[in-house]
Symmetry: C2
Subunit: 638 residues, 2 copies
């Protein structure tokens, strides 16, 4: 039997930093502990109920019984079950509450058994293809999502393998992977799946099992892409990233989740094979994407129509798609780049998306979700029925489920695995990348290193790390200084320069290091090339993007009429506050000879913001992140 | 036999102004004469070739032969043939070239015969429904476009009736209309078509024939709408304007062409029945739509996904949909409102869309078309094959045809009928609303009034009107003063106040009146509520919106890096010219602590614009209408 390696979501063979796994990092309190508790207590059961109610789970039972004529859901419906299984696998090892671990184990067992029963004798496992009355296996690689589903199954099995060890489900995944490799591996069919996912999955399975064939097949899929193996979609070959080979591309493009999953796999292949050129190609694409195709929230993918990135600087607030899954995928990619390079800017990007995409997408109840994460909702829209899947990806409130429901289950597996994204170790010491009250246990050069992190982050910027082990020799504790701290961070009272606060010492148990980050509200200005937000500002506090909801406006004021004054934001009763005015609306063609000087304005009033991640929690509301700045006007009294 | 009334596209029974028909207005030279000549000489044949090649015409032959199993094209394909027939019908009376009139007559006869042959014994005529192996008649009113197609057939017949008199095609249209009225008229099925068109068609047929039942059915369709008679689309009931009754709505919403066609019909019903409340409701919706949901080009409908208006001030330049058919529909509605009210602001709106949507959509060759009319193309896109229908509505160059090809044929019928939208008469005299070198013949209080209009408009702002008849008593010549003239218009050298320049006199033959309009380039500033274009300016010259194409930039400059300096535009060698600089691109996350002051800029250079209607005529180019204004910066040297 193959043994689990450390319980990490990603286990590169090479690279700069070694991840510390779920279980070895325990998140015990604060923001993410709360979110994870809700995920364990509510979201897993919520997702499973919908899978059952809609018949997506019954698809496995019907397939097992050879009765496939009645299949429910879209072609990728199997993957939702796999993501819930993956979430359970992480929770079995990582849920803070022992009761939650037991529940997760029970749910895991029941779901896994139904999946395993549907496997074909030759290892193939998909409820949508290959059965009586169904399309042939692999007859629609572009859109059928067969390998995508297989990838999610394998990822779930890798999580299980690393947190609990081999079992029937894991062995089923081996057989799925073997089947995929025999059909598509080196020497096999020169084809790729329309939606990348199998690539990272096989790379991880290779890492977890040591079977090199999985890695070779993952590498083959990565290298095949960009060579026109898929029929162009209505949106062109870029939709599938089949327009340019990964190593030649200069920026992420096409369908955002596809692009990010593919890039993550490219990093896996690059790191495991020491292919620096491939790694550099992905870093180059990441940098260009961050500079020109990323929202303030970390959201990626501007276009609704094809869920794609769009062109450089095409970042409309109101049309922002910024799919939750793309946010999660960007975290997966950034984590791999952080492990590969050790550069904290990747952890900055993770933090941005964790707070402003993942935490914003999942409602506080753990039973409602945004699929698209707009930055500007012009009209309060009450379009969600909590008892019905939402037919569209864009909604005015968080919805319980969607006709295409990738995001809820993706959030669930990410939140369950989140401890695995917090800290790393290397020969020099321990690096803390994300801040949460937590306990971290690892080994540095043979020395056991335990530490406790205590913080109210992001409400407070104080992060206290207490070492719980004595060290025979010096090691380094490295704490990320977020880019947004902008020179304002202090380590034990001393200003920190650069992206890392580091203390190197032969620590004794009880030693405490305190990082202070300036989580005072600040204004953020956009690059002038982003047409959609020219002339506006946004407020942030620490990693949190703030927004204005119409529900917080004075009576009678309309969101579209509000402009803010160029004054520093204040913090009042825990809320970020600006000053603003409303400007009278015109009823003419809105194009004029003279600049619109906003002169007929109201008396100034407090513009009270709310963290973006809390938007739409108080019912339907118009909302905007980027706030128009009052135009300078000598005549204006305001 | 019912006789043709005057050859006008719209013949209201009531209202302020009476239109002067095609034929009575002859456009003899200048901008529109050239466009109309190309329409007659190229576009009609071009459209017919595609209808033939794709089998959309053969659908009628197959239906006539009772062999319907092989039908080609979308559910609304019949309507494209009807629009070409309508264009031919107008050209028979209105084409400047006698040869073109003959060609139009031949084409009319051949197309009309094939349509007539497909009519069922009971009058029903549609190639997609009701035949063997086809869906039942009226089994999919929401999406089937049956009544929409019937409406276009009837409109074509009305054009024929008014320009040439009754014939077999016109009689076929009577029978179609009779069939529609018997099924859906008062006392019939309380249903509506998903796409309005039958309403205006029946209203016009009532006007052309005097048969009141047609008007009653048109009125019934208008009044039924907004009462949830259609199943909500994925985009909601507003998509079909089935959310709120016409008289209660406050703004146009949902699918733009649907909304505009419905509103046009509501005006027809209102005017013919003296229903001032209904007219006021449409005027209110028009005003709100112009103030908050209309592009600088006159384009309407912001959203690609459902071709809909979107929310107030949701007017992205790069995502602008602004469908050509919506532009034409806005002209049809504005013309009706002009006739009903006599207010020239509606003619202003027509002019805006005529030059910047219709003339921009149709290529100079008359064989290429934009379906969507964006205001910002970030990247030069060479995505059109002149030998293949374009699969999408958005294209980087004008395409020969589209899978959904409503726009080419709609442009063709509009251009053919254009003389009917130029001038009106009333008891007081003659009103010229659109300027073109032309001959106008009408009757005022029993007096024959002939006049010649001579102008290079819009290249020049000089419009000379010479009266060719002697008048026994005074009458008024009224000339529209476009809103953009902004106080700069002169009539015979005297400044004009207000939207009309009027001379009242017992004119003698040879009398000339000269209107001078200031077609100097000017800057236009957007309302500060239009987020997408905050901090930018656009240039216009007369009615023409100008744009910047990347092909006109200095070598190495990228469109996204160009900002213009706040200086008045100049006219040089016929081109509008601004001054601008390029600003260095950053490679970081484009959100910063400090405002982006564009300080690292190039030396200033000339930014040479081109009329929007000529964009993409020189090959693929990035393009933008709204140009970012340089941010004031004391340190900047530029």
């Amino acid at each position: 039997m193959v043994r689990a390696r450390e319980a990490v979501p990603v286990a590169p063979v090479g690279g700069r930093l070694a991840p510390i796994g779920v279980g070895a990092v325990e998140i015990t309190g604060g923001f993410w502990a709360e979110r994870r508790a809700v995920n364990s207590a509510s979201t897993l059961e919520h997702c499973t109920s919908w899978l059952e109610e809609l018949g997506w789970l019954a698809n496995f039972d019907r397939a097992a019984a050879g009765q496939r004529s009645e299949r429910s859901g879209r072609e990728f419906a199997d993957s939702e079950t796999y993501k819930v299984i993956e979430a359970c696998a992480w929770d079995v090892a990582g849920a803070a509450d022992p009761q939650a671990r037991e529940t997760a184990e029970r749910l895991y067992q029941s779901l896994a058994a139904r999946v395993v029963a549907a496997q074909q004798p030759d290892g193939y496992l998909n409820t949508r293809f290959g059965g009586a009355g169904q399309p042939e296996r692999y007859s629609d690689l572009a859109w059928g999502h067969e390998l995508y589903c297989a990838g999610h199954l394998i990822q779930a099995a890798v999580a299980r393998l690393r947190t609990a060890g081999e079992d029937a489900f894991v062995r089923a995944a081996y057989r799925v992977a073997d089947h995929v490799c025999s059909v598509f591996g080196p020497g096999g069919a020169e084809q790729v799946c329309g939606h990348p996912e199998i690539e990272t999955a096989l790379a991880e399975l290779a890492r977890a099992t040591g079977v090199d064939r999985y890695r070779q097949t993952a590498a083959a899929f990565v290298e095949r892409r960009g060579r026109g193996l898929l029929p162009p979609s209505l949106f062109g070959s870029a939709y599938f990233q089949d327009d340019v080979p990964v190593r030649e591309a200069t920026v992420l493009r096409g369908h955002a989740v596809r692009a990010l999953y593919l890039s993550a796999a490219a990093v896996d292949v690059a790191v495991d094979t020491g292919d620096d050129d491939l790694l550099a190609a992905v870093v180059r694409q990441w940098d260009a994407t961050l500079a020109r195709r990323t929202y303030l929230t970390g959201g990626m993918g501007s276009r609704l129509m094809d869920e794609s990135f769009g062109d450089d600087y095409e970042l409309p607030s109101d049309g922002a798609y910024a799919e939750t899954c793309a946010g999660i995928a960007s975290i997966m990619l950034a984590w791999r780049l952080l492990l590969a390079t050790g550069e904290e800017r990747f952890a900055d990007a993770m933090e941005r998306a964790m707070y402003n995409i993942v935490a914003a997408s999942v409602g506080r109840d753990g039973r409602s979700f945004f699929y698209a994460n707009t930055l500007h909702r012009r009209v309060a829209v009450d379009d969600v029925d909590p008892s019905t899947p939402h037919p569209r990806s864009v909604s005015g409130l968080r919805a319980p489920w969607f006709d295409v429901s990738c995001c809820p289950t993706n959030s669930a597996r990410f939140l369950a695995s989140l401890p695995g994204y917090v800290a790393t170790a290397d020969g020099d010491g321990v690096q803390i990348h994300q801040y949460a009250t937590s306990r971290v246990r690892t080994v540095v050069r043979g020395m056991n290193v335990d530490l406790d992190v205590e913080t109210d982050y992001p409400v407070s910027g104080r992060v206290a790390v207490t070492i719980r082990t004595d060290a025979a020799e010096p090691w380094s504790l490295s704490l990320r200084v977020p880019e947004w701290a902008d020179g304002g961070a202090r380590l034990d009272g001393v200003p920190v320069v650069g992206p890392v606060a580091r203390v190197t010492r032969a620590f004794s148990s009880g030693d405490t290091v305190v990082l202070d980050l300036p989580v005072v509200p600040r204004l953020v200005h956009p690059d002038h090339r982003i047409d959609a937000v020219r002339g506006t500002v946004a407020a942030m506090r620490g990693p949190l993007v703030e927004c204005l909801e119409s529900i917080d406006l004075p009576p009678g004021a309309r969101l579209e009429d509000v402009v803010v004054l160029p004054e520093p934001p204040r913090l009042e009763a825990g809320r970020v506050v600006l000053r603003g005015v409303t400007v009278e609306a015109s009823q003419q063609l809105p194009y004029r000879r003279e600049p619109d000087r906003s002169s007929r304005s109201s008396e100034p009033f407090d513009v009270v913001l709310v963290p973006y991640l809390e938007h739409a929690e108080r019912g339907p509301s118009a909302m905007r992140v980027w706030l128009p700045l009052a135009t300078p006007d000598p005549e204006a009294t305001a």
